[in-house]
Amino acid sequence: MRFVDEFRDADKAHALAAKIAALCEPGRQYKLMEVCGGHTHTIYKHGLEDYLPESVTLVHGPGCPVCVIPMGRVDDAIHLASQPDVIMTSFGDMMRVPGSGGSFFDANAEGTNIRMVYSPLDSLKIAKQNPDKQVVFMAIGFETTAPSTAMTMLRAAAAGIENFSVFCNHVTIVPAIKAILDSPDLRLDGFIGPGHVSTVIGCRPYEFIARDYGKPVVVAGFEPLDILQSIYMLMVQLSEGRSEVENQYSRVVPWAGNPVALKVIGETMELRPYFEWRGLGFISHSALQVREKFAAMDAERLFRVPGVRVADPKACQCGEVLKGVLKPWECKVFGTACTPETPIGTCMVSPEGACAAYYNFGRMNRTRVAEAAQASRS
């Protein structure tokens, strides 16, 4: 398949792997964080870790939109969905995220009408078909999905659709990265920068990471060779003692981002003073809310949202996993009480969550490609 197979070429992967291995200084350990859940998914889906030398460890970061939603927010959403004459729409990923009383699927079994949509625009179709209902879109995601929520609001306004609103849970990536950089129990050598987010915000917002924290950043694409090449680019920077922001994904990511997308976000949403992230706690200016001008489309203004705070279950170590302090399997409940079937933590729900990716794809005795090659030679 064109534009896919080129980026999954095993021969090129072998060549890159050898170049990465050659850059490793003996005795040195390298910890690189892929910020984005999409990267985590690619890494596990294609078995990319098999190509890395043992001294290079990938740490899975907080960039999975579903994983950072706190339980209280899920409870709030279910509360909204249980109001009379409400249809809630949500991305499929969100359907199985557990709140304190169960997931959207469980809520539907008890009578709510929460429908899966592929695009927020589908919510408008549903709103038109059900004029006597209020259609609330459960908006989640980083700057990647915020523009499509914004566009939906603008279209609803233009079309005069009055029974559509947004329960806004959009978050922003930079404050989360900063929280991780400031977390005392973590040592990282560099970042594989989020590709999709950067199509919107560009590469400039990461400059502080290189400048103030001295860590290299390479914005990466989502095919396995993209990621392997980004790791190589990080290793080159580390071996040369540089820390810069580089763009591996230049075929898609413009350095300055997408001004049109940024404009529509700015038109409809503004920063919240603070927002709770699962496992990371409250981070100031880390999320978006609907602007006053669009109050009629803000579910938080239209309905009384209880705003419950639910403490994460003590046994759940999603926070440590999101910060990259623990590997998924190091969590006490990983794979036993917490599985994709019965997820306790959000990292186990989304295919982009580090725990789900490891459980579904990586739970096995790994044979590294280099070892296998060596074994076949000897």
Partner: protein, 387 residues
């Protein structure tokens, strides 16, 4: 419901032994050993008796993945347990007056009722015929039960029934008994069909996924995922167009050819809900063996691959309605592939992997990229009502 579900889950999985923990809560064994310890612990947890945790049925229970398996084992098998049911094969095998009979049943709730390549009627006949065929039986007689919604157009019913008549003729079976119920508008979605089928096992074969042995070859009879992707696109909810149609077809001819050539075949399953990945997991679990397949060898049409890439789903989990997975001894692999390819429905048959001793219970995929990963059972299907 309250958050007590979390406490319950934790209590059930409390581990008796205590690992040495340091101040940060991390265990103090070497990294690789600690990881292995966790893998073992997970393995134990997975082998425990399944339990339905939910208080109500959710869509996941019908998706053919883990939740469906849990429901079947914890509710149905628990209540009906008997030696004929217990293997949970596609059809039960009975001895009646000296004859070996295969009996199976299946319900069809696909939406939409009509789609490129077939109708709910085709599925209702072919699905049951295939469950009998892969059990080694010659399908003979079917029943047909209809649940119709008030207001359903008779013209549509005629179309469904005609497709059933034609499918039955093509498969060489007769529909010999039936039932009709009508429910009020809104209590069903147009038309649901249940079929049951009986077949005669004349061959001296003994098939079952539990019979898979290390070294055996795993074969699929053709490109996978056509049906699931067709249905998804036919719903018109996605702005994607592709030139594909459902692979719904009766497999009894194909199976007969395979069993003529390879009477020592170990097992066959037709890949429906949950796709080929689910069957591979059933083999690994029921025979307590490892399974290793190679992504490069698995036939997938470019259209199916393209749509799957766009939608972020894995063709390995997408439903087929006219493909089978066979396990045969290694030395019979070429013979089996040749026999399948001799039949029009098996032209693209291929060996996709093998059964092995290592990592019992686990299906591993060698990716086209050159890495390896697990292929587990899905929890829920993103595509409900596929058949």
């Amino acid at each position: 419901m309250s958050s007590s579900w979390i406490d319950q889950a934790l209590a059930e999985h409390k581990e008796p032994e205590h690992d040495e923990l340091d101040a940060g809560g991390r265990r103090q064994l070497p990294l690789a050993d600690r990881e292995q310890q966790v893998l073992d612990r997970i393995d134990r947890a997975r082998r425990r008796r399944p339990k339905v945790r939910e208080e109500r049925i959710t869509m996941s229970h019908g998706a053919g993945g883990k939740a469906t398996h849990t429901l079947i084992e914890a509710v149905f098998l628990d209540a009906f347990r008997n030696p004929l049911l217990e293997p949970l094969e596609d059809a039960a095998q009975l001895a009646l007056g000296g004859a070996r009979i295969a009996l199976t049943t299946d319900s069809y709730v696909v939406s939409p009722l009509f789609f490129p390549g077939g109708t709910i009627g085709d599925l209702a006949v072919n699905g049951t015929v295939n469950d009998l065929a892969v059990s080694g039986a010659t399908p003979l007689y079917l029943s047909a039960g209809f649940i119709l919604e008030e207001g359903f157009p008779v013209a549509d019913l005629n179309r469904v029934v005609e497709s059933m008549r034609d499918a039955a003729a093509a498969a060489g079976v007769h529909i010999v008994t039936g039932d009709t119920k009508v429910v009020q508008k809104g209590k069903a979605d147009g038309c649901y069909i249940n079929t049951a089928g009986v077949g005669l096992i004349e061959r001296d074969v003994s098939l079952g996924v539990a019979r898979a042995r290390p070294g055996d070859a795993i074969i699929v009879s053709g490109p996978i995922g056509d049906h699931g992707i067709t249905i998804m696109l036919a719903r018109g909810e996605l702005d994607i167009e592709a030139d594909i149609c459902s692979d719904t077809a009766p497999l009894n001819g194909l199976v007969a050819g395979l069993l003529d050539a390879v009477p020592e075949a170990r097992a066959m399953r037709d890949a429906t809900r949950g796709g080929v990945a689910t069957i591979l997991n059933e083999i690994a679990k029921d025979a307590d063996v490892g399974v290793l397949v190679s992504e490069d060898e698995i036939p997938v049409r470019a259209e199916v691959r393209g749509a799957s890439e766009l939608l972020g789903i894995d063709p390995m989990y997408v439903a087929c309605e006219g493909r089978l997975v066979a396990v045969v001894p290694a030395e019979a692999a070429d013979r089996a592939v040749a026999a399948l390819r001799a039949h029009p429905l098996g032209e693209q048959a291929a060996v996709i992997g093998r059964v092995r001793e290592e990592q019992p219970g686990i299906v591993q995929l060698k990716t086209a990229f050159g890495g390896t990963r697990i292929v587990d059972l899905l929890v829920g299907d993103p595509l409900p009502r596929i058949c």
